[in-house]
Symmetry: C2
Subunit: 404 residues, 2 copies
């Protein structure tokens, strides 16, 4: 008699964005006359840049001709893309990451969910609180998190690192020593960043304790200030303790195209085993490579034209971020983020909890955001707005909030 | 201190197709004048059909315009594709599979590797021997297979179902009762099929024992004879015990485009839990949907033009299969498969073992095939040739083998 993976049954009933979708759909059905503006889920709205579209068309034509047709891609990614990433995202910044240390995939969500598989079931994970739900949920599925305390909203075997106004939404080194440390900077959901000096402390801490840092750099393209590291490999010793995840979703609008990559330096070993080999084996066994046409699209992001175009897209989103930040500040709200990240983290007003504020904002201003509590208990009393909307919608949303 | 997933360390050193690649590359480097013909790995060679190319170009254009741009796809697949699959692959055959029982993915390799995750660690799996290596390897990674017996080439906790000349390469009901049963028809690597009556016995057996069948139908499009089921849901009671995997790789040449789907009927429950819900949760948490443009390409496979074109492609490959089958028979070899499948399974001559024959064929005829032993101990003494080559190459390969 088959048994099911009982860890799945421990997962919280409704996924955050499903619950948001449900509430928004109910409201929209009851008020068909209202124009709802969605600044909730982190999905982009600008179309793919012309250089990317051109590369896609060219690659599609190649797939239609016998001489240029491509079948199975190399499991770990085409050399043309891995080499470009190595040169432009790493070597140009002084980070020694080689092409064969880069694993191309269908996105950072898959990679951030799957990476835990190469580690033993007995490892203790540490996460920021609030946090992107995928890091925790995939460890729940793997049985690493113990039992859930409904009262506190915490898993018994997870080490939480609260990110609050007191610490500027940057985690402190945890009291208990973790084995796997998930860090995401610029942060989703708070939009916080850390300086290179602070990140170096984490690298040193991991190396001292034999821990591994899973560093999610999905929002790296939004960094606008100096001295904020774009990659953890800017820190000394990171090749011995860090895995870095990248996405093409937010810097180049690939949310619907799916492309990402993970870096595992060959110097990263535990129990005498290169983690690089384990991940290569996982990719080879459970994955069959990202589509050729999408990898060509990824390459186009790094072309001269492509770089100009995606930089302009990011700038447009950051114009939204500034508008939200300034508008909310002017209206008397307490806000942070939005300078090096496309997320604005606001304190809910009048002691409302974050779901109350969600409902209030939806009903009064017809604006959708994300309740901070959905990201963890320390997110309670906060609310996330994204800069990925259209400019005119963003302006209107802020005007409506100001009038509330 | 981080520990690694030690189950990974139990995996056999070199993956079958890596070892083949290594030997072929060595030979090619030593004999640059020889034209090596590859009938080894099951990769297609015909370009994507015109209807698919057209759909891709149109979808790419949509992604380049603000009004038609699509961001995140629905986790489980676009409705337009799920509905088309439900109608054309199932309802048209009298199988009641609804659109919301279909999960679109990046391919059957990923799905066949990931599906085991929703089951408990204590389940006993049964596989055919020989078998597609992904089924076993992913269960090794999950710790379900016990220890490896180097002598016998078998895992201690796996139930093997030998597929030999004696049973027509069709497995018999196993003596020990398994929990999860992997079946693949038309079969990779043997090219064998089972009748609907025989498949019904498996469904009845699974229902009687509370087992779940994971039915890999990746080669369904190659069935040419009547009374061979195209889907396990043609059998009564399969909605209560079977998961079915499909690929667009072999029927429509998507090996480099990546698209597949998995069916989990809502009637399939164990311990009171719908497996459908577990897989939906996995998809939602660890996956972010197949690219919009690729899903539109998948839809085009079912258009009137698309169907004509991909049917012609399959017919071209089956012309190769017939040529191989007839040619080898005429040359005195013992062969099977190749009638309802793109794979020809031949007995190695003169008592050679399958790697010996591999080397012999490579050196003497400069033809690459796949040693049967790579698929399991019962594959020893056999050799797989694929029909996915170009026609003229296939003809030349067979002429060379005849001359050996």
């Amino acid at each position: 008699m088959v048994t099911v993976n009982e860890n799945y049954l421990k997962l919280r009933g409704s996924y955050l964005f499903s619950e948001i979708g449900r509430r928004v759909n109910t409201f929209a059905a009851e008020h068909p006359d209202k124009k709802v503006i969605r600044l909730g889920i982190g999905d982009v709205t600008q179309p793919l840049a012309p250089a990317i579209i051109k590369a896609l068309h060219e690659a599609v034509d190649e797939m239609g001709a016998a001489e240029t047709f491509r079948g199975y891609a190399p499991d770990l990614g085409y050399e043309f893309l891995r080499k470009t990433i190595s040169e432009q995202d790493y070597k140009a910044r002084g980070c020694q990451i080689e092409a064969d240390e880069i694993f191309v995939s269908d996105g950072a969500k898959s990679d951030s969910g799957n990476i835990q598989e190469i580690f033993g079931a007995d490892n203790r994970i540490a996460v920021c609180d609030p946090v992107y739900p995928v890091y925790v949920d995939t460890n729940v599925m793997a049985g690493r998190t113990g039992s859930f305390d409904e009262e506190k909203g915490l898993w018994s075997d997870v080490i939480y690192m609260p990110c609050t106004a007191q610490n500027g939404f940057a985690p402190e080194l945890p009291a208990k020593t973790p084995d796997l440390i998930y860090l995401c900077f610029p942060n989703n959901p708070t939009g916080a960043v850390v300086t290179k000096a602070v990140l170096q402390e984490w690298v040193d801490y991991a190396n001292k304790n034999g821990a591994v840092i899973i560093y999610d750099a999905a929002y790296e393209a939004y960094i606008s200030e100096d001295n904020i590291p774009h990659s953890i490999y800017e820190c000394e010793g990171a090749r011995e303790c860090a895995i870095e995840l990248h996405s093409f979703s937010k810097n180049a609008g690939f949310t619907g195209l799916r492309l990402g990559y993970t870096v595992i330096p060959k110097d990263l070993k535990r129990q005498g085993v290169m983690l690089h080999s384990l991940w290569a084996r996982r990719h080879g066994t459970k994955y069959n490579g990202a589509p050729y046409i999408v990898q060509r699209a990824g390459e186009a992001v790094y072309s001269e034209e492509g770089k100009k175009q995606v930089t302009a897209q990011v700038a447009a989103y950051m114009k939204n971020a500034s508008y939200i930040l300034d508008g909310l500040k002017a209206a008397g709200y307490t806000v942070s983020g939005g300078v090096n990240a496309p997320y604005i983290w606001m304190k809910t007003p009048d002691g409302m909890d974050s779901w109350e504020f969600f409902d209030h904002l939806l009903k009064t201003a017809n604006v959708v955001g994300t309740p901070g509590a959905g990201f963890g208990p320390s997110g309670e009393g906060y609310f996330r707005l994204t800069a990925f909307g259209k400019y005119e919608d963003t302006v209107e949303a802020i005007e409506r909030i100001k009038r509330m």
